[in-house]
Symmetry: C2
Subunit: 151 residues, 2 copies
C-alpha cells in the first residue's frame, strides 16, 4: 500500500506541473525520439573509438547524451503510456511503471555514467572515453533487458 500511496502522490504532483498537458502519444513519441537521438550519439562515439578519434566529434555527441540523460525524461512516462503509439508502438514493459526503486537505481546509474562520459570526453582521452562508453552502454542494456520488449 505504501508504494501505491507514493505513486498516487507522484501522479497528483505531476498534474500540478507543466507536464500536465502531455498527451500519451506525444510522450511516447518524444521518449522514442530522445532514445534515438542518444542512439545516434552512441553510434558516433563508437565510430570514433573504433576508427579515427576526433575529440570534438566525441564531445558533441557526449554532450547530447548528457543533456538528455539529465532532462528529466521520467516525466514522459505519463500514466497510460505503458501502451500506445508514438512513432511506433511503445516497447516499454508495464513493470517499468511499478518497479520504482529498481528503475530509480538504473536511471541514477545511467545519469552518472552519462555525466562521466561527458567529463572524460572533454579531456580527449580516448581510452577513458572507451571505458566510460562501455559503462554507459551497460546501463542502457540493464534497462532494455528488464523493461523493453524484445523485437
Amino acid at each position: 500500500m505504501k508504494s501505491k500511496l507514493l505513486l498516487a502522490l507522484i501522479a497528483t504532483a505531476t498534474v500540478t506541473t507543466a507536464h500536465a498537458q502531455v498527451k500519451v502519444e506525444d510522450a511516447i513519441k518524444w521518449r522514442q525520439s530522445a532514445y534515438a537521438t542518444m542512439g545516434w550519439s552512441m553510434s558516433r562515439i563508437k565510430a570514433n573509438i573504433d576508427g579515427t578519434y576526433n575529440k570534438d566529434d566525441v564531445i558533441k555527441a557526449a554532450n547530447v547524451i548528457q543533456a538528455i540523460a539529465n532532462s528529466g525524461m521520467g516525466a514522459l512516462y505519463v500514466p497510460g503510456s505503458d501502451k500506445g503509439k508514438g512513432w511506433v508502438d511503445t516497447r516499454v514493459q508495464p513493470a517499468l511503471f511499478t518497479d520504482g526503486p529498481k528503475v530509480g537505481k538504473i536511471a541514477g546509474d545511467f545519469n552518472a555514467a552519462a555525466n562521466e562520459l561527458a567529463k572524460v570526453a572533454a579531456t580527449g582521452n580516448a581510452g577513458a572515453v572507451k571505458d566510460a562508453f562501455g559503462k554507459l552502454g551497460g546501463t542502457c542494456k540493464s534497462c532494455h533487458d528488464d523493461y523493453r520488449t524484445k523485437q
Copy 2:
C-alpha cells in the same frame, strides 16, 4: 561552379569521417528524432513561460536544445537523404542540399539562438527566456518555411 566544387569537397571530406557509414534511413530517423526531442524541449519551455515558471525545468530543456543544436546535425544530411523514410517520410526540400550559404546562415542563427536561450535559462530570468525563446522559434520557422514540405 564554385559552389558545386565546394559541395564536392565537402562530400569527399565527409567520406573520410566517422559519419561515412551512416545509412540514409538512419540519418533521416536520427534527424527526425533530434528535431522531435527539441520540439519536446520547446513545448516544456513554453509551458513554463505560459504557466508556473520552474527554473530547473527550463534549464534542463534549454540544455537539451543547446546540445543538439551544437551536435553537428548537418552530418545527418547525407547524400541521397533528400528523399526516404526514417520514422516517416522525410519532409526536407531538396533545396536544403543546394542552398549552401542561405542554409548556413539559418543554421548559424539557430545555433546562436540556442546558445543564448541556454545562457539566459541559467539565470532564471523568465522575461529574458521568453525573448530568447521567441528568437529561437523564429530561426526554426525560417528553416521550416523554406525547406520543409507543408503537411
